[in-house]
Symmetry: C2
């Protein structure tokens, strides 16, 4: 039962492993600012990251897995921050917080949303959002709950995408007002024009 510990306790060092993975993620992020994932070769990634070609596959089965690893955690982080929108009545404040966060991490999110991974990122984002919002309290009678989430999430992402694409982006306060008015309030705030 303890064939794994002949004499000394062997603990796998994880320093280098982590460093290589970080390098791969970082490099992919850079490349995604230029072109789509399909046009990026593993050879290209490893070359820029100064890492052996074969080493790539010791960490990830393919490009897609690397992208997923890179995006999933960032999505989860942003989504967790967006979650309060479902439970508060002051959606404007939550939306403002969302835009501030995106603006602070605009390099990352510009790459994720406007780059070659946008389709995958948006798809994964919606998927996670639908999971989290499954037991949300708010829903309007005239609007199926699932469609409400789908609309709010995809619209919000599209507005953010447009925002980050601009050469001279407006302030995060300005975009937050628009985002809340177009994508959030119509779904998650009682309408006075019924």
């Amino acid at each position: 039962m303890d064939q794994k510990m002949p004499t000394t306790t062997k603990k796998p060092p994880q320093k280098r492993l982590t460093r290589t993975r970080a390098a791969l993620c970082s490099t992919l992020l850079t490349l995604l600012e230029e072109k789509a994932l399909e046009q990026i070769t593993v050879k290209e990634i490893t070359a820029r990251a100064d890492i052996g070609y074969a080493t790539f596959f010791r960490h990830y089965a393919d490009k897609e897995e690397l992208l997923h690893d890179l995006a999933a955690q960032e999505i989860r982080r942003l989504l967790t921050m967006t979650l309060p929108i479902l439970y508060t009545e002051d959606t404007q404040a939550s939306t403002q917080a969302l835009c501030s966060y995106v603006w602070e991490h605009r390099v990352l999110w510009k790459a994720l949303l406007t780059g070659g991974a946008s389709a995958t990122v948006k798809e994964e984002y919606l998927k996670q959002a639908l999971d989290l919002a499954e037991d949300a309290p708010k829903a309007e009678a005239w609007l199926p709950a699932e469609l409400a989430v789908t609309f709010a999430v995809t619209s919000a992402l599209d507005i953010l995408t447009w925002w980050l694409k601009q050469k001279k982006p407006m302030s995060n306060k300005e975009i937050a007002v628009i985002l809340n008015r177009l994508a959030i309030a119509p779904v998650y705030q009682p309408q006075k024009t019924d």
Copy 2:
């Protein structure tokens, strides 16, 4: 100077050429219902279409070109029909017409929007829409014109996508009301809640 007409006027028959192209388009459409474009091989397309492999490249440079040829005309058609939204004040009627048209061609548009080409189709759709809407009269002061179009188009497409994905879709009248209320009216109709 007239080497092109030795004796008899040679007019290229186009029957077979058109037929082959139609077969390729149709086959691609079928395959797109199952999987993404990247996972579809030219070999697969030509095999199902009962067409020689090399023949494919006599018509299209690659898969992407075939998809573009297939999607562009359909997009133009639907977009032309959507255009009145920009000029009428009764957006509900135009939206209703849009949903009716999509419902009539739901097989085609389900493949285009929910299948493996969705990203390309949506991107192309937005591109064409931005061109057409460039000299549109309507714009709200608080909302940049380009963002208005981007939001309306992408939101509408996302709502339509959700609609077509449902196993038991609601009627086109129902979805038209929602679509107009969420994506069109907030942008192209005077807001009474200002």
